[in-house]
């Protein structure tokens, strides 16, 4: 019996460059005009720009309209439980650090159901990229408030207005010194693709919070609403400056900054494990001598 062995992940290994065709074209279950279309396009562009082949990438997602996105491109894909994409992605990355692991899901999945995992993944600085489709509303369950909904936002579930304050994922991530924190907007696809490319290239936890309209259920934060407010961070914004990043993280309202808000280099979670330095955990049998050595302690 021959078991497959993994080729090392090296850039430009393939003679011909990866193209958009490698990632395919699929019919989706999304509403016409949904921000997801532009986000999917940006993700594909970023993968191509990273020259990653589909089999080198593992998408992990939760549940929601956003979580379906990886179904619509060619790559390895584990579509798990609502809110649990980050633990599953963490496990997969630890099992095989050679995989480029990208967790993609919505604001409800990552910031609501999976809030504890979001915080813990930042603390670990696990080398995965998290792309959050942030449309400030629950789409799949037809229009309830999400953690990022604005205070007072009315829905059928919150007829008197959303009573909580808005969750600020960028603020939390920067406050915790997450190693890569960025925001994009689906109305600026090329800019978004470039941010995602940088996030994928970054070694450590990278967050890309993506503002996008929900054309069906969010009549407040519409395409025009975002378009009017979103602006690219000026060239002199220094993502290494934490104080400036904190200030930027809380800029929201008339002006919403886009781009790489904060970045720092620090050891990744995987760096803590000696065993991962020599590759993946897959197929690495522990020698019987080692096992016998361990059993000896019970003599």
């Amino acid at each position: 019996m021959i078991y497959p062995t993994q080729p090392p992940l090296t850039k430009g290994r393939r003679k011909s460059m990866v193209t958009l065709n490698d990632y395919g074209q699929y019919e989706t279950a999304w509403c016409p005009g949904c921000g997801n279309f532009q986000l999917l396009k940006a993700v594909k562009q970023a993968l191509v720009a990273s020259n990653l082949e589909p089999h080198q990438v593992l998408f992990v997602s939760g549940i929601g309209q956003a979580a379906k996105a990886p179904h619509y491109l060619n790559a390895n894909f584990f579509n798990g439980l609502h809110g649990r994409s980050l633990p599953a992605a963490t496990g997969a990355k630890l099992a095989n650090p050679n995989l480029k692991v990208i967790a993609e899901s919505g604001d409800g999945c990552n910031y609501g159901e999976g809030g504890n995992h979001f915080i813990s993944a930042i603390r670990r600085n696990i080398d995965i990229t998290v792309i959050v489709h942030d449309n400030q509303v629950y789409g799949l369950t037809k229009g309830q408030a999400s953690p990022t909904s604005e205070h007072g936002f009315t829905t059928k579930a919150q007829p008197s207005g959303y009573p909580s304050e808005t969750f600020n994922p960028i603020g939390i991530a920067v406050a915790m010194h997450a190693s890569f924190v960025a925001r994009g907007f689906t109305g600026m696809t090329d800019h978004l693709a470039e941010i995602i490319r940088q996030a994928i290239a970054h070694k450590g936890f990278s967050l890309v919070d993506v503002l996008q309209p929900c054309v069906t259920f969010n009549k407040t934060n519409t395409f025009a609403w975002y378009k009017k407010r979103c602006y690219e961070l000026p060239k002199d914004h220094d993502p290494a400056n934490w104080d400036a990043a904190m200030k930027t993280a809380y800029e929201w309202g008339e002006k919403i900054p886009l781009g790489l808000i904060y970045k720092c280099d620090k050891p990744t979670f995987e760096d803590n494990f000696e065993v991962l330095k020599s590759g993946s955990l897959v197929g690495a049998d522990t020698p019987i001598e080692t096992l016998n050595e361990i059993i000896k302690q019970y003599r």
């Binding site: 021959i2 089999h55 579509n79 099992a95």
Partner: protein
């Protein structure tokens, strides 16, 4: 079993007094001297105070169960004497500190202050008990040195002095307690508890990823694995909660690392959604369920077998699973090893059900021949792959060859939503029907590998005990005691409780005059399972749900009067 040749030692006192240390050292000394042991640890959910015991039943022959009657009580507090007074016999001895001012018929007053300083009190107690049992002083000294010599070299001398003084003092002053008979020479045996054996079984099976959130009584499985992680090349992570732990493990397993989680009732309740995820995505996962009394937080440090139905039905929807329930420490080892192979072969959740008693009970076990326990290999060999590759391809057995992502150009896709053969989300209801059937088909293959229940004794017994999991030893011991009195008793023990194969055991049930189901819960969950699967109703029961393990004496006391 020759019942006269066992001695039941109970060390009792407050948490923090070091009784687990003394008990552990004594257990090790007994095992190295060739004796068998059965340890029962009884403790409260607190770090200091309260009343805890470390019980060791020991003897020359194999010992399968704890015992209630006490031969040698080491009372570190007067409260211990009061609590256990009723369990002492005329030949029993109670070892107390002379300074305790205790008075009892069985008291053996030891002037510890003259024998040791405050730091070495426990070692002095160990010296007294070792001498009473007739253990070799040099052997004890060696074990004490192994445990403390490296960590606290400064105490080595005073420990040694305390040991010798107390040993000599006891030799000179004991005239009542009869020491253990000479044990046969038994080389190379190991001393471990159920959790140690589970961890070792996992290690032998090639566990590469383990995530956990601490919860009694399962915690020490993770502590063992963490202590070996560097040496054995595995990743152990304390997750933010049990939900994260199992989702991480499933993610790791999907990517090719044999993975396990261990928890107890409340933690498992959090994991349940992911059990279903494992079933749906056909991702192998081994789940160790260390039971303790529930509902809710229950009695955190006590024992019970009340989560059988919970585990059997955990996870929404229908999907196959296997549930092992080790009856001994050795079974903890090989059934955990087997669980990994079953999980990989049938691609889904496989359970190992233990409980606090089994998790904490130390035994002497013969060394494992690891060449007989090969590591599992995640994923299918290339020879089994048909193109185009589809992760959930329909097959006769229901098992689809599993590729690992990133190892070939084939894309590995799976979904917690109902999916097509290639793993993509679908609402095609004809595919849905086929997928349900595909998953359930795997049960047939699993049933071919079900560990048959063990029938000990004649098929047409007057009395047949039925049991599962950790109660095995007590049931066997109780049956032996009744047989010794001339009764015609057999036992039928299940170390795998799902899937059941009725042909393996129904005739044994039907052949017995009386069938009594012995289990550690209040409603008779296993008896109910047997009835559901076979139609055979077990009408008589011995049940325990006060948090203590089922002992042979408990069984004999509680056998219902003949109908």
């Amino acid at each position: 079993m020759n019942r006269e040749r066992t001695i039941n030692i109970v060390i009792g006192g407050e948490a923090g007094q070091g009784l687990v240390t003394v008990g552990g050292l004594l257990s090790k000394a007994l095992v190295r001297s060739g004796y068998s042991i059965c340890v029962n640890q009884s403790y409260q959910s607190r770090i200091r105070g309260g009343h805890n015991t470390f019980e060791i039943r020991t003897g020359t022959d194999e010992i399968t169960a704890p015992q209630e009657k006490i031969d040698l009580l080491v009372a570190l507090t007067n409260e211990t004497i009061d609590i256990h007074a009723g369990l002492l016999g005329t030949g029993s001895l109670t070892v107390v500190d002379a300074a305790q001012n205790a008075s009892c018929k069985t008291c053996f007053h030891v002037p510890y202050k003259e024998l040791a300083n405050a730091r070495s009190m426990n070692i002095a107690a160990l010296g007294v008990v070792s001498c009473l049992l007739g253990l070799d002083e040099e052997l004890i000294a060696g074990i004490v040195n192994e445990s403390f010599g490296k960590k606290h070299p400064e105490t080595a001398e005073e420990n040694r002095a305390a040991l010798t003084k107390s040993y000599e003092w006891t030799k000179a002053n004991n005239s009542r307690f009869e020491k253990l008979p000479q044990a046969p020479k038994r080389e190379g045996r190991l001393m471990m508890n159920g959790n140690d054996a589970v961890a070792l079984g996992a290690l032998a099976a090639g566990v590469k990823f383990y995530a956990f959130y601490p919860m009694t009584p399962s915690t020490s499985i993770g502590l063992n694995l963490a202590s070996w992680a560097k040496k054995a090349g595995l990743v152990v992570e304390q997750a933010e909660d049990e939900i994260a732990a199992i989702n991480m493990a499933i993610g790791a397993s999907f990517a090719g690392a044999p993975a396990m989680v261990a928890t107890s009732g409340g933690g498992f309740a959090l994991m349940v959604e992911a059990v279903s995820l494992s079933g749906m995505t056909e991702t192998p996962i081994v789940i160790v369920m260390g039971q303790r009394p529930a509902p809710a937080t229950g009695l955190p440090t006590r024992t019970e077998q009340s989560d059988l139905e919970f585990v059997l039905h955990s996870g929404h929807g229908e999907f196959p699973r296997a549930v092992y329930a080790p009856g001994t420490v050795e079974e903890c080892f090989w059934l955990t090893h087997r669980a990994f192979h079953t999980a990989e072969k049938f691609q889904g959740p496989v359970f190992v059900m233990t409980d606090q008693f089994l998790a904490d009970t130390f035994r002497a076990v013969a060394p494992f021949d690891l060449s007989k326990y090969p590591a599992v290999r995640a994923g299918a060999p290339l020879d089994d792959i048909k193109t185009p590759y589809m992760r959930h391809r329909f097959t006769e057995s229901g098992v689809s060859p599993r590729l690992l992502p990133g190892f070939t150009k084939h894309l590995v896709v799976t979904d917690s939503d109902e999916h097509t053969e290639d793993g993509h989300i679908t609402e095609d209801l004809s595919v849905r029907k086929l997928m349900v059937e595909k998953r359930l088909k795997k049960m047939k293959g699993m049933m071919k590998e079900t560990v048959a229940p063990e029938l000990a004794g004649v098929k047409k017994a007057d009395l047949l005990f039925v049991s599962w999991g950790s109660t095995k030893g007590s049931v066997v011991d109780a049956a032996a005691a009744l047989k010794a009195k001339g009764q015609n008793v057999s036992t039928l023990h299940f170390s795998q409780v799902w899937p059941l194969v009725p042909e393996q055991f129904v005739s044994a049930l039907e052949g017995a005059k009386r069938v009594v189901c012995v289990e550690g819960n209040a409603s008779g969950q296993f008896a109910r399972l047997i009835r559901r699967e076979t139609g055979f109703e077990i009408k008589e029961h011995v049940r325990r749900y006060d948090g203590l393990p089922i002992t042979p004496e408990y069984i004999i006391r509680n056998i219902p009067p003949p109908l």
